[in-house]
């Protein structure tokens, strides 16, 4: 059964967001849904308090769409986590929160406002991006929108992916990534040849996708969407993150990796990242309250140097090294692999490589994208 696209129960429009073309476009698509103009900070606070007072503020927040204006910066370095090897990624905060409801999702804890926010002042974004890219015109930039929200989950009424692709297409030193768990690719325009736009999917073992990623389509639907995107001319990426230990994880992760390479030609894949399940202690309490049936938070977790709960190192290494091995076995050794939020010991023991900082990681991810592989 195909997953239904998301629609909010109610749309709130910040008074300051009223006159923007993106607001008009979104409201046209959502015509018929209850809408309210939020005329004062006091009203916004009242809405926020009503959500916070509900039994499940996170779940309640997902039913609300809030259109507003980004007053801070859109573009930021990916926050990553302290004392690990980063990958030099930049994020665009154009929409916040996600309509999917994954057990492990950091956004349940990370964001101050529980609703789905879309910032509508696109002209400010383009200006900021112009300045940002000008400032960094001598380095290769990887940038994307999928860090604090799903890049495509709202695309059927925002149409933002087409705007972003149109902006980034042809920018020589930039690789733009749309990251999603959905299969909603209908609004992606076809492109002439593989370029600097990457569409990537978060993948997981079937058991985890089925039990812990509520609202997300099954893995096979994500792979079919990825295949369709490849046919449209894009290159694709995949993120096995979070990798989760459970009885039978080795078999299930190998199965999903095997399936991935059955469906997607390895040559279309620009990168593949692996990250083991990790979460701040405060998120554990939220998960316990919202998903009392889950067992994934009760494994052998220790408090890592970044203050997050992580699998004890050898368990994490076994997980990451095994899945990296499956990728090499079924997809070949040429696909650039990187670990998300891991220290040098895990890189060394898991990938037999100790990168000297994030620039070294960045450099491995670019040659393939531009067709400049050493081979």
């Amino acid at each position: 059964m195909a997953s239904l696209p998301y629609y909010p129960d109610k749309v709130y429009i910040d008074k300051k967001a009223l006159d923007f073309p993106l607001t008009e476009r979104i409201l046209e698509h959502l015509d018929g849904l209850p809408q309210e103009i939020v005329a004062s900070p006091r009203r916004k606070q009242a809405i926020l308090e009503a959500v916070r007072r509900s039994e499940d503020p996170v779940g309640e927040g997902k039913r609300i769409l809030y259109l507003t204006v980004q007053r801070g910066r859109f573009v930021k370095p990916c926050p990553c986590t302290p004392r690990v090897i980063g990958c030099g990624y930049f994020i665009i905060n154009l929409n916040l929160q996600c309509p999917l409801d994954c057990t492990y999702c950091i956004l349940q804890h990370y964001l101050a406002e529980p609703w789905l926010t879309v910032f509508v002042n696109l002209e400010d974004l383009w200006h900021e991006l112009d300045d940002f890219l000008e400032k960094h015109n001598r380095r290769a930039i990887r940038i994307g929108t999928g860090e604090l929200g799903d890049s495509l989950a709202l695309d059927h009424f925002t149409g933002l992916s087409a705007d972003l692709i149109s902006y980034f297409r042809g920018k020589a030193n930039v690789c733009f990534e749309l990251k999603t768990k959905t299969a909603g690719i209908g609004d992606l325009p076809a492109v002439q040849r593989p370029g600097n736009i990457v569409v990537s999917w978060s993948l997981n073992a079937g058991k985890i996708a089925g039990e812990e990623e509520r609202g997300a389509p099954p893995v096979i639907e994500r792979l079919q969407a990825a295949r369709a995107v490849v046919k449209k001319g894009y290159r694709v990426g995949f993120h096995f993150d979070p990798l989760v230990r459970f009885p039978g994880w080795e078999r299930e992760y190998e199965e999903v990796v095997r399936k991935l390479f059955q469906v997607i030609p390895a040559s279309s894949i620009v990168w593949l990242s692996l990250g083991a399940l990790r979460f701040p202690p405060a998120l554990k309490k939220i998960i316990q309250a919202r998903f009392p049936e889950t067992k994934i938070i009760y494994d052998e977790f220790i408090l890592g140097r970044d203050g997050k709960l992580r699998y004890f190192r050898p368990l994490r290494l076994e997980l990451l090294r095994s899945v990296a091995g499956f990728v090499k076995k079924w997809g070949g050794k040429e696909i650039p692999l990187y670990f998300c939020m891991e220290g040098e010991e895990i890189w060394r023991d898991g990938l037999a490589w100790k990168p000297r900082g994030k620039r070294a990681v960045e450099n491995t991810l670019f040659p393939r994208l531009w067709g400049q592989d050493k081979s």
Partner: protein, 329 residues
């Protein structure tokens, strides 16, 4: 607040002491009050009200208990003419608020009574929790409501040992049958270790899908509990370590292997060697104190000597993961 008080002397047999709707204190010692009443009599009348033709005690459970212990058959009472339970309860609450701090369980009973008598959650949070010096959030409201429903064995332990909110809140997660086994195990330990035992039991229970009492019934733990070799505090400590091993099988295997390597090597006294926290990195830290050059050189000589031995390599070797460990999840 409209109210009429009438004062009179009441035969205590006329009080329906089975009706505890207004009672907030359950675990207390009335010895000092007994002495006081014996010496100077009952100065403050009990507060009662009429419900279905019977007198119900609103405030003064400790005084009543002391009177009954002294065989006093009648006492001065104030009769409150207030048919609404919530309003009547607020009398006892405000009367007590002025004079004393409420222990944890009494706060729980107050919150529970307010809720039962129909006060809205938002009203309790906004108006009453701050008076009880409790943060006005849903978390605390629900926690105190849960504490009021705790099994008597847990309530007795909380009151008797003055357990803090954090530990008491954790007890809510367990069923009465679990608490019967857990409470005796907890009481000899300090608060940090109590927290650790409760956390470990909950985590193992959720991971393995078994009840905490089943965990405590396993042969290894039963052997500790039934042994006559150790006093209660040592039994509790051994059970704590056994639970930690169960919850962190791989971490404890690494820790034990590291300690065993140090012992085998004869690591010098006065010099500490610590791996990184949870072995997250390969870093280790050796440290020692010295007062002069001679002591400093002596420590260096010991370090050089110990590092030249073949067994020194074992400090850097870690046990491999076992399938058994993985299957335990």
């Amino acid at each position: 607040m409209k109210n009429i008080f009438k004062q009179r002397h009441l035969d205590l047999h006329e009080l329906d002491i089975e009706d505890t709707r207004f009672r907030i204190s359950e675990f207390f010692s009335s010895d000092r009050l007994v002495l006081s009443i014996k010496k100077i009599g009952l100065l403050h009348p009990l507060l009662v009200t009429l419900r279905e033709g019977r007198f119900v005690l609103v405030s003064g459970w400790k005084r009543l208990s002391a009177c009954l212990k002294l065989g006093i058959s009648s006492a001065p009472v104030l009769i409150l003419d207030e048919p609404d339970d919530l309003k009547a309860f607020l009398f006892t609450l405000y009367e007590n608020l002025a004079g004393r701090e409420f222990p944890l369980l009494e706060k729980a009973e107050i919150v529970s009574r307010l809720y039962t008598f129909g006060m809205a959650r938002s009203g309790i949070m906004k108006n009453l929790l701050p008076l009880l010096q409790v943060p006005p959030t849903a978390f605390y409201l629900d926690s105190f409501l849960s504490l009021s429903k705790l099994d008597p064995i847990a309530k007795k332990a909380i009151a008797g040992k003055n357990l803090p909110f954090l530990i008491a809140r954790m007890l809510v997660e367990f069923q009465a049958e679990d608490l019967e086994r857990i409470i005796p195990l907890l009481l000899p330990l300090g608060q940090n270790k109590q927290k650790e035992v409760l956390e470990d039991l909950l985590e193992i229970s959720k991971r393995k899908n078994v009840s905490p009492r089943d965990i405590l019934e396993t042969p290894g733990i039963q052997a500790i509990l039934q042994s006559s070799k150790w006093p209660p505090v040592q039994k509790s400590e051994r059970v704590r370590l056994a639970l930690r091993r169960e919850r962190f099988p791989h971490l404890t295997a690494w820790e034990e292997s590291f300690q065993s390597a140090l012992r085998e090597l004869g690591w010098p006294r006065g010099i500490s060697l610590e791996p990184a926290a949870y072995f997250e990195t390969d870093d280790m830290e050796a440290s020692f104190r010295f007062r002069d050059e001679r002591e400093f050189r002596a420590h260096l000589r010991k370090l050089l000597e110990v590092s030249s031995r073949q067994e020194f390599q074992k400090i850097f070797t870690r046990p491999r993961l076992t399938t058994k460990g993985r299957e335990k999840i």
